[in-house]
Symmetry: C2
Subunit: 216 residues, 2 copies
DNA sequence: GCGGCAACTTGACAGCGTTAACTGACCGGT
DNA sequence: ACCGGTCAGTTAACGCTGTCAAGTTGCCGC
């Protein structure tokens, strides 16, 4: 029993005319699962994906041009759930400045929970070049645009100083929360070496400092 | 002319008894050069390194246990030059709060200039497990310890609020500058898509906000 | 001069992403 | 009812990768 051949090949099943997208979804699901299990892209081979789906490796290439685009598609899904998680916070009630704090805390929480996908989503090093047409309505950009609008709202309400432009403030906030996630993730499984305070102290303290520094 | 075989094999030279470390240094130099040229670890193969040095691939394994440790050694060197660059700033003159600002700006400048090595040095995703004994006197930890001490000095001088512990402040500062580097690097060669303000505005503005929020 | 050993080389293995060429199965048209 | 077309795969292979076991070469100390 070297190879599983679970879902499809074992059953002798073969997709009908319109069933291509079915396998495509199945590949995406399996790839995400394997990525979550093994942690990095390189640890998940095309052959392993194909085997888990129950299909031969070249079948993958019927639905994705290459490995990078497959994993971009997987990450794109994660990005969407990320945007869906943060969207409600953007539109929630309360003073703008409180929404900004909640947004940052949600961001860090999401990053910590999805630690396998996060570096792939937000890392500098994603080798694959994102297709330009897909990048147009990138979920991350939607969030960033929402953050800029939220900052403008806070500035209009007099809750944030206006001598720094809204995109500048948004960039500072984004850099801080992103750096915080990376700091926490990097020292995640070696807490005895680097004595960094735990997330429960760092994240609120950082927001205190940032929002204090942004007061008018 | 398929393979270069530059330095050693072409000359018929073979290392004497004590000349092992010579090749080791040469491997490190060549690997660093190739890494800077190609950007990522995966783009630099053991075979390419061996070929550039003028040696067969298994010869590399005489000096490094595997590929990961080779690249860790290369990164460790970069880390040392990083520490050497930041060390003087830590000990330089001026008020502690000014030194903190200069430290942050130097950090970002270093990160931007060494953009190929930076993600490998500071990324979450370095697959290799750093040998525990090497990690003890890690240059990055020395810098972090120096930053904590600097923050304590600033707190003692009454330049930074003392209701947040020094390690907490240091963590916030580190997360911010690191996130700023990643933000700038990530959007480095696609400035038309994400309209993020340039580094010359972001970095000083971020330090303004942080130091304002840290005022007593 | 000779054993020993450091420093390599040769040759190979298993696994990778990817491609070209082939094979069924289903569908619409005549 | 057959039949070409096309969708959805398969088989086989190429060139590449990191890595290892075994063999070879040449210097050093005795």
């Amino acid at each position: 029993m070297t190879s599983r051949a679970k879902t499809r090949r074992a059953t002798g099943h073969r997709a009908r005319k319109g069933e291509g997208p079915l396998l495509k979804e199945e590949i995406l699901d399996t790839t995400e699962k394997l990525l979550l299990r093994h942690g990095t892209i390189d640890a998940v081979s095309i052959r392993a994906i194909a085997d888990a789906v129950g299909v031969t490796p070249p079948a993958i290439y019927m639905h994705f041009a290459d490995k990078d685009l497959l994993f971009y598609a997987v990450c794109r899904r994660g990005f969407d759930t990320f945007a869906n998680q943060l969207g409600p916070v953007l539109a929630s009630g309360g003073r703008p400045i409180e929404r900004i704090r909640r947004l940052g805390e949600e961001y860090v929480r999401f990053g910590m929970e999805n630690w396998q996908q996060y570096p792939i989503l937000f890392g500098v090093h994603k080798d694959f070049t994102i297709p330009a047409d897909e990048l147009a309505d990138d979920p991350g950009l939607r969030i960033l645009a929402g953050l800029v609008a939220l900052v403008e709202e806070a500035q209009a309400a007099g809750e944030i100083r206006s001598d720094i432009s809204a995109p500048l403030v948004a960039g500072i906030l984004w850099a801080s929360v992103h750096g915080m996630v990376e700091l926490l993730l990097g020292r995640k499984d070696k807490p005895e070496i680097v004595r960094i305070p735990p997330a429960e102290e760092l994240v609120p303290a950082m927001h205190d400092v940032l929002l204090a520094g942004l007061k008018p």
